[in-house]
Symmetry: C2
Subunit: 339 residues, 2 copies
């Protein structure tokens, strides 16, 4: 009996929070590589908040996943068969084959990984897109200076955890915001942030203020919503706000209420000379060589730590993804597709 491949497709565009019926698990025959092609077998799938945007057809920086199309996503794959001289069976590659067990490739856009250099799935996390997002957004837009205060939301997540640790490397005070006491304890005790505040606490805004006695010079925005509302009054003159994500509003069905209105934001932009700047990791592609020089060294020196939250099996990807949008993951969310 031939091996059967499996994939998860977008069954319908979510209204509000994604639900199980927005996804559909399908089986399909394992494809056969043609001339010049590779057959890739997925080992690891990365789940990331940006995928919520791809499920929607609202205008954005990338085109949406089509209905009945395979959900998009970064992957680590093993070359199962190769008709391409550049790759051989057993090679491990970083790819973007999405939520499926097998895919064909002509080799374009792949990056070979050395399994001896680092655990291969870190190419989806601290050594991959989330790590590079943190590195480039913080250093290119946030520009933290020694003695400044850097605040980052979703601080135990794949991006936020790296932002705060790089802020520490640069001599800044790092204050995280995370959901729940366990994550906050991890951010403080394991990652070494100076403080971490639980945004679910009733006195969140007061505690954040107390944790930032000299105000906030850099706010790395991952979430928006009530977290922004607590950060905004604490911003210092010349504060920089790299806008990386807005997870609290991704599933909103109408424009979310936020405490500070547009006119108030602009008044502060003017009087405090704030810089608010959105970015996508690929905007800073030119910085990738710096990243790939610095980050492995920092990990080796013990200055950057990371944590993974692993779902087992493709069939659990939707549940893990829906949980991540609600902050249920603890660390970089991965799905192990195959041993």
């Amino acid at each position: 009996m031939p091996e059967t491949a499996r994939r998860i497709v977008l069954a319908s565009r979510p209204v509000g929070e994604p639900k199980p019926s927005d996804f559909r698990l399908e089986e399909y025959p394992v494809p056969q590589p043609g001339p010049g092609q590779l057959l890739l077998k997925t080992k690891w799938l990365s789940l990331d908040p940006y995928m919520r945007g791809r499920m929607s057809d609202a205008p954005s920086y990338a085109k949406p996943v089509g209905i009945d199309d395979v959900m998009e996503g970064g992957t680590v794959n093993e070359v199962a068969a190769s008709n391409n001289g550049s790759y051989k069976a057993g090679d491990i590659v970083l790819a973007h084959t999405g939520w499926q067990t097998h895919a064909l490739s002509n080799g374009a856009g792949l990056r070979k990984l050395d399994p001896n250099a680092a655990p291969i799935q870190t190419a989806l996390g601290v050594l991959g897109m989330p790590g590079m997002t943190a590195y480039s957004g913080l250093l290119e837009i946030g520009k933290p200076q020694a003695g400044e205060t850097v605040v980052v939301s979703a601080a135990s997540g794949a991006v936020g955890s790296v932002v705060g640790q790089i802020a520490k490397i640069k001599g800044a005070r790092a204050v995280g915001i995370a959901g729940g006491p366990d994550k906050c304890k991890y951010v403080r005790d394991e990652l070494g942030f100076d403080d971490c505040i639980d945004h679910r606490a009733a006195d969140f805004a007061e505690k954040l203020k107390a944790a930032c006695p000299k105000g906030i010079d850099v706010y790395f925005e991952n979430v928006s919503g009530a977290v922004w509302d607590a950060v905004f009054p604490l911003l210092n003159t010349f504060a920089r706000i790299p806008v990386c994500g807005l997870i609290a509003q991704y599933s909103a069905t109408e424009v979310p209420d936020m405490k500070y209105r547009t006119a108030q934001i602009f008044r502060a932009v003017l009087t405090k000379r704030l810089t608010i700047r959105g970015f996508i990791v690929t905007d800073f592609a030119a910085k990738f060589p710096d990243f790939i020089r610095d980050m492995p060294a920092w990990i080796k020196e013990g200055r950057i730590k990371y944590r993974e939250d692993i779902a087992e099996g493709l069939e659990h990807a939707p549940q893990a993804f829906m949980g991540m949008l609600k902050g249920k993951n603890f660390g970089k969310q991965l799905v192990r597709i195959a041993e």
Copy 2:
């Protein structure tokens, strides 16, 4: 009979739009310069929108004018008497002696002007703070590239008129926004903008869109309010928004309504990778040598034109200022204090 000096002081903090009773005209004896001091006689007073902020005690980047204190402002003065070796009677200086006819100075912060190089009052306009504001904000934050579209509000004003003309020098398409057909005609025909749209027109938003067929790459914000609402949907990916002023909301007594809410602004910041950055001209003091090299040359070459709106006599300063906040001035608003 000794000469009498006159000054206008802040009588009360305005609630909403300033009214005549918020100002008070006083007479006082002409002061006598002590050792090392100069007596300055005011020739020109500059009126600028930022002064509305100084009348309020809401937190801002500069401390407010105190009640019963002389209204603040940039001036061009003649040295009437000098006990200071660096200046002699008859010298013309750029100063900041405010809304009054006479003031003492120890010489600090003055800049000597050459009356043969340019009309002395241009040191308050195109060759002064407003010109430098336009120059630095556009070039340092807006960074217009050839072929891009630059939109500026308050386009016939002291700052906006220079912004659009520099945009043209840099090879960009310049589209102004101004109030009324006369100002728009001037901006188009005299200043050479590619287009200028009347924000008072009923179909303003549609006309602005038609004037920007390739969208907006740089929006130089002077006004906020309904003008921002029309600009916002037209912003291109990677658009830059130098925030220089928000004149439409300076006299607001409550948070003004704007069409696009905070969550929508942030969504666009992220998906379009916008840069929104506030600035004050002094933030770019290091660029002053560039400005003072480029701007006189551009004026001489006929590439930068300017227009002045002159009120006659200190007693008319409050009326001229109140009118300016409503857009009644046409060109740089000055008050001629003495011939």
